[in-house]
Symmetry: C2
Subunit: 452 residues, 2 copies
């Protein structure tokens, strides 16, 4: 009988707690959907600041903008963490042409890859196409030497998750210059890492190795990549390009941080995204949406009068795109302050309709996350899987052994239409989809704080 | 032992069949994503035809277009079913102004509601606002008589399903004219049934009753509705409008039908959407996406060499928007031909990222649908619920007692940005989201055909 009563008591506590949580989530969603600040905050970040690459004056304005916006919400603390960031500029010249055998020039849309050296005036050469990174790696030096390499590897459209398709192609952007240069190429142009065939080139980070000569690297729009490939099928082509992008000495910049102190103030749940963006478009989905998701999540919890167990800390990381110095230095800094990080969450997959969360952590955390599934069902979240947290929060995993990382998972279908492209602008973010993301993240932070 | 072997045999059949189905679905998705015709078909329907309201010459061109496109895919049969449809035209004049007390005029964006009478020149009157249909119904005649009623009831943004929010407001459009006229109003303007606050008015059907005087009815854009409401808070306003829309005698039109004959040719699975659209925008999401979903689903099954048990029939229904004559006459016609309908499926909720299917049918059909859930999981479909089929296939339920109806459920968040508005154009449909819808529908039709 005693056991039975115990069980009844336990079940009613559980049911009471589930009801309480269910009501709390409804309040979070109502605040996000009826009184939300996210859409206007994102508009202002995109339009009053615009693109904000690390080291640029726009990035510094974005730091100021973020601090002011956070202060306006009256959190317990708002402050900056100073960091060092790479500083690369696109410059003013950026042009590409296909030069047919008869001398005819066809202008194409290119974007230098971030970190690329310039061409030092006009660069012209024969062009040699590879349809896959592996094909280039196996090529004879004689086929490549003195030429411009064209890496025309398309994202696999049969992948349902576009991030998987992106992962499968990532090497052409990250390692294309190094692999081409090893074989004596004078430059590399890649097919943009984008799902649709359209006219927008998509930039992104690339790297050099000290022992390998540095060559210029650019992305062609997917439609220009198809054009170039079809011209090459007809006969030999040359390619002409001019870019005056260049690297500058590292610059000072900042992570921007806001927090609500917890009952246990030294136990931290960090959630954030990255404030920097590529220098094209407005960094609306990547990752304006992510930082605004997290800012709005904290605002909602504050407005609802939530008293956290742990310190809830929103971090706008600087420099995810080309160095991740914000993420790395944040983990070190938190460790040096003697803090105990108990979980971290990142939003860096766009402002689309929420699908769920990934968890990069022990089985017990995945089980815990899955126990929230019923609470999220009314809001159409259904995907709670073992997976990836995010680039910015990644270093916390090494610094704070065993902490679970969570990645917000929105619908991925449209992300690579906009990613790193001039089309990543505020107008391509839907208000409700953004707001539902804020509510999903506020709900997850609330549940993590209560259950960890 | 015998039972045990039986069980093993049964389990292996089950597992073999699940593997087979799982491979079949993968093939369907690959065809949709790598060799899909849907996006180009939708582009052509939207751009070569455009909006296609029942009775218009564009609707007749759309019938021709559909028949030719179906014939190009080499299905077993392609034919037209003749029907009668209402014929209403917007005319050339359609303007609205707020007239402030000092005489200042503010131009606003209006669209006549479909079926509305015109204003017979310029109509001007004092305006009286109601924030809810129920408020109008309770109003005294003296408050309304001789005035223009302004129904400013907003869609409930806290609903997660935007269709539920739409359902909650539908009456202001459908019954606003009748309820206003009962109290002596001279016209009615409604806040557009749209989720965002923007400048697009959204049209849609309305009705009159024989015993109640007919008054003109129009929709204001949501931003103009907010403007008018705020002006009314400052003081009395008048409203000026001119519309020369009018009704014409019924016209002849057609449902367009394509089929793959089944092993049991007289047992029919119908799937479709509606070919007609409102006369504004291009009917891209509503319901160009839906008809193309179904056409492409049949094309995929044909290309894969599928031999159906039942006759698989795609119907492009005419006149869903203002009369549903296509749906009604199709059910009668099928019944008169002595056919046996065993299931029907409709796509009329836009070309967005798939979420699942609704089933309007007995518990056994819902159980069957849920048994498909694991097969759909790799494609991110998760919502398999008792729910609604669709307007066009609705009459089949009465004619063929007990048949299950299925409604395709894509993500609903952006639908009411575009629904019945000038913004419902091809550019607002995403290629991959559309293609994933085609594959989901082809998969469901395949599974229904095998399991029914």
């Amino acid at each position: 009988m005693k056991h039975f009563l115990h069980l009844i008591a336990l079940l009613s506590t559980f049911s009471f707690s589930q009801n309480w949580d269910s009501t709390y989530l409804r309040n979070i969603y109502n605040e996000a959907l009826s009184n939300g600040h996210a859409y206007e905050d994102l508009r202002s970040l995109c339009k009053d600041i615009g693109p904000r690459l690390s080291g640029s004056s726009e990035a510094e304005m974005a730091v100021l903008w973020s601090k002011l916006r956070m202060e306006s919400y009256g959190f317990d603390e708002v402050y900056l963490q100073e960091i060092k960031v790479p500083h690369w500029e696109r410059g003013n010249k950026e042009s590409g042409w296909i030069k047919l055998a008869n001398g005819q020039l066809i202008k194409v849309n290119i974007l230098a890859l971030g970190g690329s050296i310039g061409t030092d005036g006009t660069l012209e050469g024969d062009i040699v196409e590879f349809s896959h990174m592996d094909e280039l790696k196996k090529a004879k030096r004689s086929k490549v030497e003195g030429k411009i390499v064209f890496l025309n590897q398309a994202m696999d459209e049969q992948q349902i998750s576009t991030f998987k398709a992106y992962g499968g192609c990532y090497a052409i952007r990250g390692n294309g210059a190094v692999e081409s240069s090893k074989l004596g190429a004078i430059a590399v142009v890649i097919r943009s890492l984008a799902m649709p065939v359209d006219d927008h080139p998509h930039t992104g980070s690339m790297h050099y190795e000290d022992s390998i000569p540095r060559i210029p690297a650019a992305a062609l729009s997917t439609s220009d990549a198809e054009l170039l490939s079809s011209e090459l099928k007809k006969g030999k082509c040359r390619f002409v390009m001019e870019m005056d992008c260049r690297n500058f000495p590292d610059a000072v910049s900042y992570n921007v941080i806001a927090e609500m102190k917890g009952e246990h103030p030294n136990e931290i749940i960090t959630f954030g995204g990255h404030l920097d963006s590529w220098d094209t478009g407005e960094g609306a989905h990547d990752d304006g949406a992510g930082v605004i998701h997290c800012l709005e999540a904290l605002r909602i919890l504050k407005v609802l009068g939530y008293k956290p167990k742990h310190t809830l800390r929103v971090v706008f990381f600087m420099n995810e795109e080309n160095g991740n110095m914000g993420g790395k230095m944040y983990a070190d800094w938190s460790h040096d302050r003697g803090e105990r990080h108990i979980a971290a969450l990142e939003s860096d997959r766009g402002g689309f309709s929420p699908r769920g969360f990934d968890c990069d952590g022990d089985e017990k955390y995945i089980t815990m996350m899955r126990s929230f599934e019923a609470l999220f069902k009314p809001y159409d979240l259904h995907a709670f899987n073992k997976g990836y947290g995010g680039v910015d929060i990644g270093p916390l995993k090494t610094t704070f052994k065993g902490i679970p990382l969570f990645g917000f998972v929105p619908d991925s279908q449209r992300y690579f239409d906009f990613h790193h492209a001039p089309s990543d602008v505020f107008e391509n973010v839907n208000k409700r989809e953004l707001e539902l993301g804020c509510a999903a993240i506020a709900s997850m932070v609330y549940l993590l704080d209560k259950n960890l």
